[in-house]
Subunit: 491 residues, 2 copies
C-alpha cells in the first residue's frame, strides 16, 4: 500500500490527522464530534485498559458501574463543579419519538417530556456521591476504592480524533476516606500509577506535578497531573488525579461515624485517564513512515511476511513458519503470519510500517536455502539477517529493546526541550523558536498566569513535584518565587 502520509515537518497537525485514519485507528462518525474507534485502534485501547485495570486492582480498587444519566439537580449541587461542566452538556429532555401527524416523518413526542432533564455524564462525581451516601455509614465502610470504565460526553466545539471528542472512553476512580491525609495519599498513589503506566507501558516520559488554581478540576481542592511532551513541542495532559477534600461529601451529605462515634464528612479523590492517551501514544513515537508502537501495547508484536513465487514456494515457507508462530505464541508473543495472496510483499511491508508493528520478519527462497529470516525493527527501520536458530531470542531481545529505545528517544527529546529561562523576553523567544517545556519563576497569582496566557498562548502545565526549592523572582512581575513551574503551549 502507498502511504501518502504528510511529513511531520511539513504539517504536524495534518500528519497526525492522516495517520490516525490511515493506520486504521479511528475516524469521524456521522455524529458531530463523536468518533468511531476502529478495530486496530480499539485493540490498542484494550491493551491499555488491561494493564491499567490490573494496576488498579493491585492497589486495592474494585470496578463498578454507575448510571449514564445525571439528573440536572445532582449536577447543580456542587457549585464550582456545575460551573465547570454546564457549558458542554448533552441534555436529555424527552423519552419518546412518534410519527408526525402530518405524515412527514418521526418527531420527538412533545408529551413525553421529562419532569427533570437528564445530563449525559461528563464525569460521575455527582451520581456516585449520591450513591456513596447510602453506602457509607461507619469508618468500617472506608476506604471505599472504586473505579468505573465508561463513556462520557462533553460537548466540545472543536474536536480532534482521540485528543478532544464529544464522547470519549475513560476510567474514573472515585474513592472515599476517613481522613484528609489518606485521601491525599490516594490521589498521589494514583498519580504514581499513571506515571508508571505512561513510562513503562506507553514508553512516554511524563512530568508529575500539580495544577494551578485556574487549571484545577471543577470541584477539586488539588489537581495532580502527568504532562507529556509531543514531538511538535506542545505539551499534553495525559492523566489527572484529584484530591476533592470534603466538597462532594458536603454537597451530597455523606458522613461517617468515626471510631470515636463522631459524625464526620468523608474525604474524597477522583482520577482518570481516557482515550486521549491514544493521541499521546501516537504523537510521542510515530514518524513519517507511520505509527511506532511500544511492544507492550502493540496488538501485533511480530508480523511474518512470506516472499514467494507460486503456491509451492508459499507452502514450503508456511511449513517453515508454522512452528515458529507456535513457539512465539507459547511465549505470549502476538504474531501474525500474513499469507494473503491478494497483496504483494511491498504492500504488506508498507502496511505494517504504517501500523507500527514492532518487529517484521520476511522469509523468501534465499532465506529458505540459507536457513535465515530477515528481521526488521520498526523503531530504527534497521534490518538484519538472522539464523533460524536465533530468531526467537532475537525477537525477544528486540521487543524488549524497542520498548526501552523508544522511551529513551522520547526522554532525550524531552530533556532537550526543557529550557530554563529567567526573563519574559527569553521566555517568549524560546516559546516562539523552540517550544517545549519552559521552566520559569512565577509569582503564584492568577493575574500573571492569565496575562502570560493571553500574551503568549502558553499555560502553566504544572508545578512539578519533587523539585527543590529555588529562590527567584517572577519573570513577569519581579515578585518573589520559590519554585520554577513548567509552561508550554498545550493540546
Amino acid at each position: 500500500m502507498s502511504k501518502n502520509l504528510t511529513k511531520r515537518e511539513e504539517d504536524y497537525s495534518k500528519w497526525y490527522n492522516e495517520l490516525v485514519v490511515k493506520a486504521d485507528l479511528a475516524e469521524n462518525s456521522g455524529v458531530r464530534g463523536c468518533m468511531v474507534i476502529k478495530p486496530y485502534g480499539f485493540a490498542i485501547w484494550e491493551k491499555m485498559q488491561a494493564a491499567l485495570d490490573k494496576m488498579f486492582k493491585d492497589t486495592g480498587h474494585e470496578n463498578a458501574y454507575f448510571p449514564l444519566f445525571i439528573p440536572k439537580s445532582y449536577l447543580s449541587k456542587e457549585a464550582s463543579h456545575v460551573e465547570g461542566f454546564a457549558k458542554e452538556c448533552a441534555v436529555v429532555t424527552h423519552y419518546r419519538l412518534k410519527n408526525d401527524e402530518d405524515g412527514s416523518g418521526i418527531i420527538v413526542d412533545p408529551e413525553a417530556k421529562l419532569e427533570e432533564e437528564l445530563i449525559v455524564r461528563p464525569t460521575s462525581e455527582t451520581i456516585i456521591w449520591d450513591t456513596y451516601r447510602r453506602w457509607i455509614q461507619s469508618y468500617r465502610d472506608l476506604p471505599l476504592l472504586i473505579n468505573q470504565w465508561a463513556n462520557v460526553v462533553r460537548w466540545e466545539m472543536r474536536t480532534r480524533l482521540f485528543l478532544r471528542t464529544a464522547e470519549f472512553l475513560w476510567q474514573e476512580g472515585h474513592t472515599a476516606h476517613a481522613t484528609e491525609k489518606e485521601a491525599i495519599d490516594e490521589a498521589e498513589l494514583m498519580l504514581g500509577v499513571y506515571a508508571n503506566f505512561a513510562e513503562n507501558h506507553m514508553a512516554m516520559p511524563v512530568i508529575q506535578g500539580v495544577k494551578t488554581e485556574s487549571e484545577r478540576f471543577a470541584g477539586a481542592v488539588e489537581t495532580y497531573c502527568i504532562e507529556a511532551l509531543m514531538q511538535d513541542g506542545k505539551a499534553l495532559q495525559a492523566g489527572t488525579s484529584h484530591f476533592l477534600g470534603q466538597n462532594f461529601a458536603k454537597a451530597f451529605d455523606v458522613k461517617f461515624a468515626s471510631k470515636e462515634g463522631k459524625k464526620e464528612h468523608v474525604w474524597a479523590t477522583s482520577w482518570g485517564v481516557s482515550t486521549r492517551l491514544m493521541g499521546a501514544l501516537i504523537m510521542t513515537h510515530s514518524d513519517d513512515n507511520g505509527l511506532v508502537l511500544p511492544p507492550k501495547l502493540a496488538p501485533i508484536q511480530v508480523v511474518i511476511v512470506p516472499i514467494y513465487r507460486g503456491l509451492d514456494q508459499l507452502d514450503a515457507i508456511s511449513d517453515k513458519v508454522a512452528p515458529l508462530v507456535k513457539e512465539l505464541r507459547a511465549k505470549g508473543i502476538s504474531v501474525k503470519y500474513d499469507n494473503r495472496d491478494t497483496h504483494k510483499p511491498g504492500f504488506k511491508f508498507n502496511e505494517y510500517e504504517l501500523k507500527g508493528v514492532p518487529v517484521r520478519l520476511a522469509i523468501g527462497q534465499r532465506d529458505m536455502d540459507n536457513g535465515t529470516f530477515e528481521v526488521a525493527r520498526r523503531d530504527t527501520l534497521v534490518k538484519e539477517t538472522v539464523g533460524a536458530n536465533e530468531v526467537v531470542s532475537k525477537i525477544e531481545f528486540l521487543l524488549d529493546d524497542i520498548q526501552k529505545n523508544i522511551y529513551k528517544k522520547a526522554f532525550d527529546f524531552r530533556k532537550e526541550n526543557i529550557t530554563e529561562v529567567n526573563s519574559y523576553d527569553e521566555f517568549k523567544k524560546v516559546l516562539e523558536e523552540k517550544g517545549g517545556f519552559i521552566s520559569a519563576h512565577w509569582d503564584g497569582t492568577n493575574e500573571t498566569e492569565e496575562r502570560i496566557q493571553t500574551e503568549t498562548k502558553a499555560t502553566i502545565r504544572c508545578v512539578p513535584i519533587g523539585v527543590e526549592v529555588e529562590q527567584g523572582v517572577c519573570m513577569v512581575t519581579g515578585k518573589p518565587s520559590n519554585k520554577r513551574v513548567f509552561f508550554a503551549k498545550a493540546y
Copy 2:
C-alpha cells in the same frame, strides 16, 4: 450477618429483588430505571465478559467502538426498526446548561438547541451500518466481523434490577457478509456460542429456537434465541442472534463489488447478550439462603474463615492458611482469606452463603490439632472434614463438581417442567397449575398467537431448532401444524 431473605415459596419476585440488593449485586439509583451495579455484581459481569469476549475472538471477531448517539434521521431509515424503538428513546435535544437569569438555578439553555435531535442508542444497527457504507467496497472487505461492548438505553416504564432497566450493559455483534448463506451461518454460529456460554459457564440449560414473526427483532428477517427456565416456571430470553437479510444494507446503501464485479447489497447479522444474564444467573441457581454461583463465574471461588479465640490462635491459623492460599492461587483459583477481626465466624458464614461463594473452608483450634479443615459446598450445603493434605484436590474436585451439579439440577428441573399438551384446556390448566414450558401445536398465524397471549398471558418463546417434524393440529383452531412450539409466561 442475618439474611432476612424472603423465601422463594412465599414470594419469588420479592425474594429476587431482595437477593440482588442483599448479595451486593446491584441497587436502584436516583435516576429512574437506571441501576448501580455494585462491585460484587460487577465482578461477576466481568467474568461473563471475559469468557464471552474470548469466545467472540476465537470465532474471528474483533472489538470496536461506535458513537453513543444516533441522529434521529439514521434511526428512521429502516422502517420497522424505528417502529420498534421509537416508543422508548432517550432524546438529546440541547447541548448546554446555563444560570437562569432570575437567579433561581441551572436551566437548559434554549439557545443551545440541536438542529437534529440525537437518540441515545437503544441498539447500534443504524449508526454502524452508516459506518459500514464507508468500510465496505469489495468482497475483499467481507466478512466484516465486529463486536462492541457498550451501554444502551431503552426507556422502559416498568423496570427491575438486571431484568429490565432503562440503561443496561451489553455486547452487540454486527457482521456483514457477501452471501445470504454466510450470514445465516453466522447468526446460527453465534446462537451456538451463546448456548455454549449459558450451559458451560452459567450452568444454565437453554432451548435454542427461532422467534415467531411477532417477537422478531425490529428489522430482522429471522431472530434466533436461547430461552432459559427460571425456578418459578417462567421463561427468560437470555440472548438473541438476528439474521438481518439486506434490510440495513438497503436502508444505508451498503453495496460491495462481487468477485464477478457486480454491485450487490451486503447481508447482515447482529447478536447480543446483556446484563440481563445476571438476572437469569441469579434466578436459575439461587436458593432461600442466597446466591448460588457456578464456580466458573464466581469472583471468589473459595473463602477461608478462621475460628479463633485471641490473636495468638488467629496468628497460628494464618500461618497454616498462608501456603494453602498461595498454592490455590498458583492454580488460578480465586481465594479470599477473611481474617477480619470485626465480625464473628457465624456472620461471615452467612455473608458468603448469601453471596454464593462455591466452597467455604473453616479452620479452628480442633482442626489445627487434627490437621484438618472443615469444607462446605454452597450448592448442597454439605460439610465435611478433610485432611490438610487432601484439601487442595478436594477443592479442585468441588469446583468442578458444583459446576456440573448445579447444571444437572437446573436441567432436571427444566425437564420436569416441559409439558406436552394437546388441547387448549389442558394448556390453560398446565399453565395455571404448573407453569414451565408447554410444548404444543400451533397453526402458525399471528391471530392465534395473539389470542393465546391475550387469554393466558403465555407467549411463544420459540420454535425449537433441531426438533423432528410431528404432524398435528393447532390446539386452538384445529388447523394443521407440523411442529410443536414452546409456550411460557416469560420475564
